[in-house]
């Protein structure tokens, strides 16, 4: 396909919130100040901030990080200074930059998730992301996101606690992700994001010990991309909600794959740990890819894949 290269219209809208482009950060891989030392974070469609809980969490013991073939394991365990600190110390600076902010929310119980949602509901945060898929905490997290009944219960409760657009972040550690997606949709989610990390582990055979202090951790990076893409595809068939797709996106063409699979926007996570400027670089590459391929806007790209078409 050859066409005149003009700048595509990158704007998208999710749940009524306008984004200047479809690229955001994945929760837990972005820090406003530190990431902002490497690139202008205002270039992104939105920024998704690290999970916050009602009170400060200490996270897991170190080592929390292990490298794996084509990816990494993390068992950070949602260390965070708590929602009050986020609201008073982090959010005002972000909002003063004029970026669209998605706040990721963590909790051990339905009540804790509600509490965070209520507090963030009164702030300038643009969207909320409910993290019911963290594999690294003992209570809460993926314990909710791997059970359709518990998913519905927590989503329904948080839905009532806030009027903000509610994104529910899904776990890949399930047999049927479509079932969980439908449970979240029926319970009042406005948007779904997926995938969170895949539960994995490593052993150091020479030192005869577990590589992560937590034992298990969440696998992310290019190694998980085919799984993530397949799940976005499945969820696209299962629900009507907008989807933020993520999992091993390292290039503009990776992002295009997710958009073609049915995502409305994409998030960059591990790539930003490997290369701090990755979210901005991937956005640029996606825009260049769309221009080269003659797409005028994101909708055209999303509709480009004819039902089940194979590459020939």
């Amino acid at each position: 396909m050859k066409s005149e290269e003009r700048r595509p219209d990158m704007r998208v809208e999710l749940c009524g919130v306008p984004w200047k482009n479809p690229v955001t950060t994945a929760a837990g891989t972005f820090a406003p100040r530190e990431s902002g030392q490497f690139y202008d974070i205002r270039r992104l469609g939105a920024v998704t901030t690290k999970g916050v809980s009602p009170r400060p969490w200490e996270g897991n013991p170190t080592p929390r990080i292990a490298e794996t073939y084509g990816g990494m394991l993390n068992a950070v365990g949602l260390q965070n200074p708590g929602v009050e600190h986020y609201i008073t110390q982090e959010l005002p600076d972000l909002k003063s930059l004029g970026v669209t902010v998605i706040a990721n929310m963590a909790g051990h119980t339905v009540e804790e998730y509600r509490e965070v949602a209520e507090k963030l509901g009164e702030t300038e945060v643009d969207m909320l992301e409910l993290n019911i898929s963290c594999p690294n905490i003992r209570r809460g997290g993926a314990a909710f996101g791997t059970d359709p009944v518990l998913t519905a219960q927590v989503v329904r409760s948080v839905r009532r606690a806030t009027a903000k657009p509610l994104i529910v972040k899904l776990s890949p550690n399930v047999t049927d992700i479509g079932e969980i997606a439908r449970a979240a949709e029926d319970a009042g989610a406005d948007c779904l994001s997926l995938i969170n990390t895949l539960l994995g582990m490593r052993i150091d055979p020479r030192r005869r010990c577990l590589t992560l202090a937590n034992g298990t951790g969440g696998l992310s990076g290019p190694a998980v991309k085919p799984v993530a893409l397949r799940m976005v595809w499945q969820v696209r068939q299962a629900v009507q909600l907008p989807i933020i797709g993520m999992g091993g996106i390292f290039t503009g063409e990776d992002a295009a794959e997710f958009l073609m699979a049915g995502a409305d926007a994409v998030a960059v996570g591990t790539a930003a740990l490997v290369k701090p400027t990755a979210p901005a670089d991937i956005l640029e590459e996606l825009e260049a890819f769309m221009a080269e391929q003659g797409y005028r806007n994101v909708r055209e790209l999303r509709e480009a894949l004819k039902g089940g078409a194979f590459a020939r």
Partner: protein, 264 residues
Amino acid sequence: MEKKIITGTIEQNLTISPGIQSLKLGGPEIAESLKAFRPGRFVNVYLEDKAMLLPRPLSICRIEKGRLQLVFKVAGEGTAALARRQSGEKLRLSTPLGQGFQIENAKGRAALIGGGVGAAPLVGLAEALHKQGVQTTAVLGFQDQPFLTDLMQEFCHQVLVATDSGAAGFCGDAVELFQKAAVEADCFFACGPRPMLKALAACCADTPLQVSLEERMGCGYGACVGCTVRVWEPAEPGRRVIGLKKVCADGPVFSGQEVVWDEE
């Protein structure tokens, strides 16, 4: 932008002791990045290998005439691959990261205590202290073969060496030698294995001590919260609470009195 990913040219890649590598990098981007150097800061080095994605955070040993010298231990596949890189090859790395040693107020006498490859950042530190007119004693401990001691001699008033094997200098570790030699100073700086730093913190509680910590890192710039250290933070008067800091972004240098040592 304040920080960047840059490309340097390998000018020298030498094994200076078994398992210890010295890598000298040059080029215009390296020269430009050196203004952000402070002793104790580190750089992320990228391997360009899709199987090994994470950056390797490596100590800056010193800077010299527009060149950056990194000294690291070959600890696994990634550092082994780096040790095989040839002169003339390009290497992608970050500009200096982390907070270095605070030396603005250092005067009089200083003692630098290093364990193994922990000697690396102490070289640049000794050089900076030397320029400031501080009289420096270095106490360096090694398993068997000492390294970087010649360079330290250039900047230190005195260099004391200990080896676990007894192959050179005092037979024992750096802290034992430090105590035996009764090194006196107005401020202490240390880099080495955590048990060494802990022992040091216990035996010099009355003197300002700065320690450079090591921790397994993910991003190396403060985004992933993978490398955490527990620190004492002041609460209301007379009380202190345990807080968490990032080794990569808040450190790697911390006050020895600030680190919570008694947890393992």
